[in-house]
Symmetry: C2
Subunit: 345 residues, 2 copies
Amino acid sequence: MPVGTQATVKGLSPGALRATGTDMVLANTYHLMLRPGAERIATLGGLHKFMSWPHPILTDSGGFQVMSLAALRKVEEGGVTFRSHLDGAMVALSPERAIEVQKLLGSDIVMQLDECLKLPAARSEIERAMRLSLAWAERSKRAFEGAAPQQALFGIVQGGNDVALRRESACALVSIGFAGYAIGGLAVGEPQEVMLRLIEEVAPLLSSDRPRYLMGVGTPADIVEAVARGVDLFDCVLPTRNGRHGLAFTQFGPLNLKNGRYADDARPIDAQSTCAAARDYSRAYLHHLVKANEMLGAILLTTVNVAYYQSLMAQARAAIASGQFEHFRAQIRRSWASAATCESG
Amino acid sequence: MPVGTQATVKGLSPGALRATGTDMVLANTYHLMLRPGAERIATLGGLHKFMSWPHPILTDSGGFQVMSLAALRKVEEGGVTFRSHLDGAMVALSPERAIEVQKLLGSDIVMQLDECLKLPAARSEIERAMRLSLAWAERSKRAFEGAAPQQALFGIVQGGNDVALRRESACALVSIGFAGYAIGGLAVGEPQEVMLRLIEEVAPLLSSDRPRYLMGVGTPADIVEAVARGVDLFDCVLPTRNGRHGLAFTQFGPLNLKNGRYADDARPIDAQSTCAAARDYSRAYLHHLVKANEMLGAILLTTVNVAYYQSLMAQARAAIASGQFEHFRAQIRRSWASAATCESG
């Protein structure tokens, strides 16, 4: 899922987004409840109509942005209060209100409110946040009753980098019972091998007939390794944010179009791509647009990157279906050995 | 012609631009000679290929930007030297170099170098600049010899707000003989009636079998009034710049989407428009995008505005052909009575 924070994937019209192969987008409850407001979007016919996207939408619960954007936040058993980063107003967000907001938005996949910690954190703090997120999961499920039949609620596994807490969280969520399960609080600075080991422990505990969603991940290599461990669904700002900063994702690895070596390069980004933006413009032109800070550079590179991510997922699905996944995985590992050049999500 | 300063009409891909009804774009010699460089664009196959626009391109001569953007400029008989606004390098631009640059770019319509004055200015200063521009016109025509057969050279009428100087400039240019004639140095702050009176004096002196081009104009009302006085061709940043600032041009007049009155307005900009961007999104969504400073707001409003300008010109052509021009002119005057809300070009 490309990230459409404020009811738009930055730089792409719905038609342009659809043409990248995108089926589902993520939108941010935190941002939309502050501006333009969930009640307003509901009055205007819901989020799908508001952003002219008649395809699936997942909304997060707002928990992650409260942690990363809001000032003066205070987490209590009842919920979280915080100061809006837009106008300084004090806002309350409880598990019940997060569900209510997502009902108003009318998203297809609704996420429970959870508490995301910054790592590293003390084990006692990680345990407290995990138990609070579990209690909020139960309350979210109750609050979700009466939602529209096309809406589905996902629970979120927390527990930081502690395997035992992660396993406890996963099993407790499965007992409560959700339409799908997310693994939250990863890709927050820990090494890739730590993240992958935690996924390895947690994924098998989550019902195999329900989607497993790894939140906020990641590089192409991260994604393919997580798929190898049983994850189905991802969201990430890497393709869009890096596109705005001049970095292209390609089947051959990353290209940094800011680099002066491309100033006279008449070749397209990838002559074999199915994405027109990767075939129809020279690297020299894209370099010029990026250096000149022109919107079209951000637009074309975002298009290239989202199309690359969608084709990566399509290839992963095809490789699994044909029994060629290990071959595909090795190929991605080689192309993205230099993935450290990507900005983190 | 929408303005594609740096080899891109801000926010629009070539396909999106084409879909607005655009046939020809303007690109800026001053900007492109400084970055990425005319020789580089020539090596890459010329400007059409560089910006993936296989349709007509007009390039200005750089004179206007030297006046408005460059520091420490010095105008002499031979040409102008100035400090680049990008890196402070001293750059020389002569009539011959301006033609050479445009030959390298490979534009379809090439403009002579002229000296643009800021008004108000003393009559002696206006006269000096007009005579210098005339001398440069002759030198431009000589330098243009040997250009590719598909390239055409236009001369530029100067003379400030002085009718006698304007007439002298126009007649002298026609004696030299150009493929088309531009009227420069207007819409630089003078009242609309002054501009229109000068056009009225000058246009009849310019060969009626050659295109007449009014540079840098203007509002829909300005354009239709200039068409009424015999002008054929226009360029203007109003549709693109205003689009980026939240203003929509419509057949009913301007809409300022920044205005809070649109926050709950479920109507599209113009349900009757042939432009999808004007029909497929609510004013409430556009208001949200503009307030949230999202690229998509600029993209959609630029699309709406360029499509409106192209439809305005198409309607003017149709009205002339059917003998209904006076009716059309009155209608545009009514819709754009409030044109003062537009930002000047």
